[in-house]
């Protein structure tokens, strides 16, 4: 594998609240190769969005990155000064945010909001920036006349496409898409996913795609990390995970996902709800909801184990199977 565009090592992010310290992201490590789409899946509150914000150095008090390294194209984001960070944002890592409804400033024209990202990073003139913005809007299928409109004059689907256009104005190396299709109807969802996929291919973009929806990842991701309670519990290639889900949580997520093809089967919910981040269960954090929980799971924390090449899962079931019980380095 060539040098990864993004390399996150042992990232821990906490939020200091009145009720105590909340570990939103707990010793998370992952890599994204150039041109790869990495899907991060998990329920709400699993720490997915915090992972994304940390990449841009956007964790703000009461949140704090307490340990770990984030290398983007070889540069450590945590070591950048405030000014370096400002220049780095959007130029190296751009983001398509969750809830496109609110991603635009309501009192500013769409075209200007695309343009100011450009003028903030280079000496490009405002006219040129506006022109480039109109070109990008056309590329996402929005008539360039809408550059002069305000956000409330666009439909939800159009706004989400405009958000994608805005994310591409500076040709970023890595695109973070945080639940970009949530709150859209299925047709608009499909449009957005296809659009992201085609841009990703054309521009050889690396993408971190964050969602709670495994079905979406099946359409777009090359590799998938499954997050639960602030940790990545399983990681592997799309086909590896789909064919051989090795963590009980991954299997449970798949059972909860309807399938368009194949035999009719009953969808199963996951009993219980995700743990409160300020009071994770001891041992394996999934054990209270796990069908296979053993005595050991209540007290000891499992470490990632190699399932097959570049496919890891953190579960004691794998160790007890013996043969492949080899720890990830």
């Amino acid at each position: 594998m060539s040098d990864p565009i993004l390399s996150v090592r042992d990232l821990t992010v906490v939020y200091r609240t009145r009720r105590g310290i909340v570990r939103a992201v707990d010793h998370v490590s992952y890599d994204i190769a150039k041109g790869e789409v990495y899907g991060l899946a998990g329920e709400s509150g699993s720490g997915k969005s915090t992972v994304a914000l940390a990449l841009l150095g956007l964790i703000q008090p009461p949140g704090e990155v307490v340990s770990g390294e984030i290398y983007v194209d070889g540069r450590d984001v945590r070591k950048m000064t405030e000014d370096e960070l400002r220049r780095f944002r959007w130029a190296s890592v751009a983001m398509v945010f969750q809830g496109a409804m609110n991603a635009f400033n309501p009192v500013m024209k769409i075209g200007e909001q695309l343009a100011d990202a450009m003028t903030a990073h280079s000496s490009i003139s405002n006219e040129e920036a506006l022109k480039h913005g109109r070109e990008l809007l056309t590329r996402v299928g929005i008539d360039e006349e809408f550059a002069g409109r305000y956000p409330h004059e666009l439909s939800g689907g159009m706004r989400q496409r405009a958000v994608i256009a805005m994310s591409l104005v500076l040709n970023p190396k890595l695109l973070v898409a945080d639940e970009p299709t949530t709150s859209l109807d299925v047709i608009a969802q499909d449009e957005v996913i296809k659009m992201l996929k085609s841009f990703q291919r054309d521009l050889d973009l690396s993408v971190l795609y964050i969602t709670h929806d495994l079905a979406v990842l099946a359409k777009i991701a090359d590799r998938i990390g499954v997050m639960y309670a602030g940790q990545i519990v399983e990681e592997g290639g799309l086909n590896q995970l789909m064919e051989k889900p090795s963590h009980p949580y991954t299997s449970a997520l798949m059972d909860a996902m309807p399938s368009l093809f194949g035999s009719l089967r009953e969808l199963k919910g996951i009993p219980g709800s995700p743990p409160d981040p300020d009071a994770y269960p001891s041992g394996c954090r999934f054990h209270p909801r796990c069908r296979f929980a053993m005595e050991k799971c209540r007290s000891d924390e499992p470490s990632p184990v190699v399932v097959e090449e570049r496919h890891y899962a953190a579960c004691f079931l794998l160790e007890s199977q013996g043969s492949k019980g080899q720890e990830k380095q």
């Binding site: 956007l58 960070l85 944002r89 959007w90 983001m95 991603a103 400033n105 309501p106 990202a117 903030a120």
Partner: protein, 321 residues
């Protein structure tokens, strides 16, 4: 349409309230004259009622009808206290002073107040918040007339830097000459400060709180992620959006500014509408009270209308139709 409804409702209240006070202006006049040793025949008293155009024996709705008819003819009546001057004349004489005082007070409190609130929220730090927020709360809850008293005692009576009363000194001739203008400014500083300081506290707090709310909105996070400068985020993203509720706040506060202005003008014996209204109320001068209330009502409605127009101009989501 709504404005007209509000206007009529306000007129009705303006009309009824003074008549709920015990006594009536003619009675006050009669009592004064008798106390001064005059003997008045019942015919003379009847004549006085006729002169003022006030008949307490008519039902109040007939009185109101008569009032509206006269109002539509542009007739605000005759003052009892300043007889035989007309109410319109008295108001026309005093109104410019009040407009001068209030508009400057609002301008020097709202504009800086909004900017201070904006930047206070932009540079949120614990020290600033823990000192300034309670201080501003304290300032905004001081009654402005009380502050006026303190100013008067300290700066005018003790230090003698500012005059004690009036709108200009009697040594200058009113007109477009420098001495007069300087005298007017000199006399206006303390009343304006009493009004402005208190009002500003409220504007700063309101703007800051709105800003803190807007800074948590998604589009501000997006602006940060875009690598925009802090200055641009605070002004163009958070500030422009937080400004809108602060305009509404301005319109709402106009009532309080006018109310406070009555007492402030009274304290500084300032020849504006506020002082005139205090005189009118204590002398039970129905016509004058009504005339002044009418002006207050119009002023507040106009302020609200202007706020709405400004809002529609600044917020693309709001259109006038």
């Amino acid at each position: 349409m709504l404005l007209t409804g509000t206007f009529v409702a306000a007129l009705l209240i303006d009309f009824t309230l003074p008549r709920l006070m015990p006594g009536n202006p003619v009675q006050t006049e009669v009592t004064n004259l008798i106390a001064a040793g005059f003997t008045l025949s019942p015919e003379a008293i009847k004549g006085m009622y006729a002169l003022y155009g006030y008949n307490p024996n008519l039902p109040i709705y007939v009185q109101f009808y008569d009032y509206i008819v006269q109002l539509l003819h542009g007739n605000l009546g005759v003052s009892y206290i300043f007889f035989p001057q007309s109410v319109s004349y008295l108001i026309a004489q005093r109104l410019p002073w009040t407009i001068f005082l209030v508009s400057i007070a609002v301008a020097v409190s709202w504009i800086p107040g909004t900017f201070i609130g904006m930047f206070a929220a932009g540079k949120r730090n614990a020290k600033f918040d823990s000192i300034f927020t309670p201080l501003l709360n304290f300032i905004s809850s001081i009654p402005n007339f009380w502050l006026g008293f303190l100013f008067l005692i300290f700066f005018a009576a003790d230090l003698k830097i500012f005059p004690l009363f009036g709108a200009y000194s009697n040594t200058v001739t009113p007109g477009a000459n420098l001495a007069f203008i300087l005298s007017v400014l000199h006399h206006a500083i303390l009343p304006i400060l009493s009004l402005a300081i208190v009002a500003m506290g409220g504007y700063v707090i309101h703007m800051r709180n709105t800003m803190v709310g807007v800074m948590g909105d998604d589009f501000v996070l997006v602006a940060r992620a875009k690598g925009l400068s802090n200055r641009r985020i605070v002004r163009t993203y958070a500030g422009a959006n937080a400004l809108l509720p602060n305009i509404t706040m301005l319109a709402i506060s106009m009532g309080a500014v006018f109310g406070g202005n009555i007492l402030v003008e009274t304290i500084f014996t300032y020849p504006g509408i506020g002082y005139l209204s205090a005189v009118a109320v204590s002398g039970e001068d129905y016509s004058l009270i009504l005339g002044i209330f009418l002006i207050f009502t119009i002023a507040i409605l106009v302020a609200n209308l202007m706020a709405d127009l400004l809002y529609a101009w600044l917020d693309p989501r709001v259109s006038l139709i």
